[in-house]
């Protein structure tokens, strides 16, 4: 079973702290498992991909970071300045003007200040990679995964080309803006939202889905990250959360396993169980909120030792199992 068969561009967003970059990397690995060539791109200059794959900082150049099950993952950290120069060369044959522009601060202007231009360049580069053709030069990819800006900014980020179309009414920049919007709004794109089972990330996910829908952008899956397995019997959760676990029963069990069950220890363990149960019940409520979105929901376990390289492959396998491959 594959959840998004025709999708070529996977955009991954999520609130800060939800593990968006990790999930994007795991998704790239999962897609590569099926023998695909995958490009994993990062748009925020944090070098998060290099850190995950334990490689030196990535230059503005596609580098192979992993091979998995017949496929390969390449990574690219998009640098807006380099993307601008590439862009000027492609559309206006102006590479040599680059240094003159840099001298007067025009590059600085374009990439950090000009309204949304930075986002235009980033989305433009992603589209270029996703729509490359055989004769155009450059490596061909079966899928592109974008580690995108956070949920709070995602609709604006992806929709920036619609705004550009409003500022530039004709010419090559308008054409470029239109074709980026066409790709992003097509069935070849899916925007996945990474969240935790906590109030604020879930609320942001709900808001993000609404904003993406309003902007006509295709919402993909909700990816719930860092899910903890419930450790208490389901029928004891309410009692545990309310602090009404049977202390005598716990004490008797402890004794049978050879642990000295002082009152203090039993009370401490019951208190820890109460917090755990409270968290599990809260997670169940947040899970229901996410279900109401009516989108495919995939869950990824909390990795006890953080997301190292082997953890990344674990997460990729979980995505594959659940149909995101």
């Amino acid at each position: 079973m594959t959840l998004f068969p025709g999708v070529k561009l996977h955009v991954v967003t999520g609130k800060g702290g939800t593990g968006k970059t990790t999930v994007a990397a795991a998704l790239a690995l999962s897609l590569a498992q099926a023998g695909r060539q995958v490009l994993l791109t990062e748009a925020e200059g944090r070098q998060g991909i290099a850190q995950l794959f334990d490689t030196p900082p990535l230059p503005y150049e596609e580098r192979r970071v992993a091979a998995a099950g017949g496929g390969e993952v390449y990574a690219l950290a998009i640098d807006p300045e380099a993307a601008l120069i590439e862009y000027l060369e492609k559309f206006y044959n102006l590479r040599r003007a680059g240094s003159a522009l840099k001298r007067i601060g025009a590059i600085d202007f374009a990439t950090t200040i000009a309204p949304g231009l930075r986002d235009v360049l980033l989305t433009g580069k992603v589209m270029e990679a996703a729509t490359r053709e055989r004769r155009g030069g450059g490596r061909l990819y079966d899928a592109v995964v974008l580690d995108a800006p956070p949920t709070g900014r995602i609709a604006r980020f992806l929709n920036v080309n619609a705004e550009v179309a409003g500022l530039a009414r004709m010419g090559p920049i308008r054409q470029q803006a239109d074709s980026v919007m066409n790709l992003l709004r097509s069935r070849q794109t899916a925007v996945h939202l990474v969240t935790l089972l906590e109030e604020m990330p879930v609320q942001e996910t709900v808001d993000g889905v609404a904003e993406l829908e309003a902007a006509g952008l295709p919402v993909g899956a909700v990816l719930v990250n860092m899910v903890r397995a419930p450790m208490l019997p389901a029928d004891q959760l309410d009692a545990a959360a309310a602090g009404r676990l049977d202390g005598a029963e716990i004490a008797a069990g402890l004794k049978r396993s050879g642990i000295d069950a002082t009152d203090r220890l039993v009370a401490a363990l019951a208190a820890e169980a109460a917090e755990h149960a409270g968290r599990v019940l809260l997670e169940a409520r947040e899970r229901e909120v996410l279900s109401a979105l009516g989108r495919p929901r995939l869950e990824l376990p909390l990795l006890p030792d953080g997301a190292d390289l082997s953890g990344l492959y674990d997460l990729a396998a979980r995505l594959t199992e659940q149909g995101l491959s």
């Binding site: 609130k15 800060g16 702290g17 939800t18 944090r46 000027l88 559309f91 206006y92 102006l94 003007a97 003159a100 522009l101 001298r103 007067i104 601060g105 600085d108 202007f109 200040i113 309204p115 800006p149 956070p150 709070g152 920036v160 705004e163 500022l167 530039a168 010419g171 090559p172 920049i173 906590e198 109030e199 604020m200 990330p201 609320q203 450790m231 208490l232 019997p233 676990l245 049977d246 029963e249 716990i250 069990g253 402890l254 049978r256 396993s257 050879g258 220890l265 009370a267 401490a268 363990l269 019951a270 820890e272 169980a273 109460a274 917090e275 755990h276 409270g278 809260l282 030792d305 953080g306």
Partner: protein, 386 residues
Amino acid sequence: MTSYDATSAYDVDALLDQARILVCCGSGGVGKTTTAAALALRAAERGRKVCVLTIDPARRLAQSMGLSELDNTPRAVNDVDTAAGGSLDAMMLDMKRTFDEIVLTHAEPGRAQQILANPFYVSLSSSFAGTQEYMAMEKLGQLKREGRWDLIVVDTPPSRSALDFLDAPQRLGRFLDGRMIRLLLAPAKAGGRAYMKVLSVGMSVFTNVLTKVLGAQALKDLSLFVASLETMFGGFRERAEKTYQLLKEPGTSFVVVATPERDALREATYFVERLSEEQMPLAAVVLNRVHRSAAPELSVQRSLAGAETLDEAGDAPLAAAVLRVHADRLAAAARDERTAARFAGAHRAVPLVQVAAQAGDVHDLEGLRTIGEELANGPEASAPVA
């Protein structure tokens, strides 16, 4: 059980009683807003007149602080204990509105409307990454000038990097004062041939590119926008720098917020180093969501072995489950403690204040009080079991 002295030595209450401005910074998702609100509430209940400027609070936390109204001015928070003579006002930053207000204050009425309607202004004021940081600084400056509060606590925008808060305002100021602007102003001021003459080669290449790329109408809009800004702001950079200086005044302190995770601590490290370069006073690093165990004497191995014994016997499923919960919790606590110790070891001069992981999301004043208590008296102050 903490092995680093800085933790217990740092006096958060003394900071809250003396500081005039507290800036909370850190990467996204580490609990910055909650920390800012908890510090502000505690300072207010200790008798100071406090204003907290939040950027993007969780909905229910905002409601509990009476922040449902988005009118960009501080409002009194209800149910604050004012017995010590303090008070708490809170506001949520409305970035676009703050920018609009600057325009309305500094430009003549006709001109102001022209600016507000300009497409480039609309983009800059509502979506440029960096405007939010600049407006947070601007608002801080305004609140400070009002002089109504003993202490202003600022939450910083959820930037890509915590450093953006320090850099973005100057970048915006540099841009608006820079050569680019003078270039774009030229056509509006001189026009025609006189304008062509003053251009260097690089600049004429630039205007050509801009005309080609954006089209003539857009260039005209941009030029008009920039001209309007100039008459309005005089020295934008000067203004940005003045606000920046505010952050170096005595009475201003920074609180860097993080969680015991690799990425959050990396951002915290950048910030700590940057503050020290800029000679800006770092009060403390707050480590949120630190796991603690109420029964550290029962080891992970012992707990898991006990649970296994019970599983094999097939009885006492509750005790087995409770032991597993404990093992999991203790392992997390040990991990967090190692992480915290590593950070403390690398930054010996930086006080580290730890706050225990909360059982649920914090969304009322009572929850904030608990966190304030822990910030001041250590995580044991509210451990689940005494």
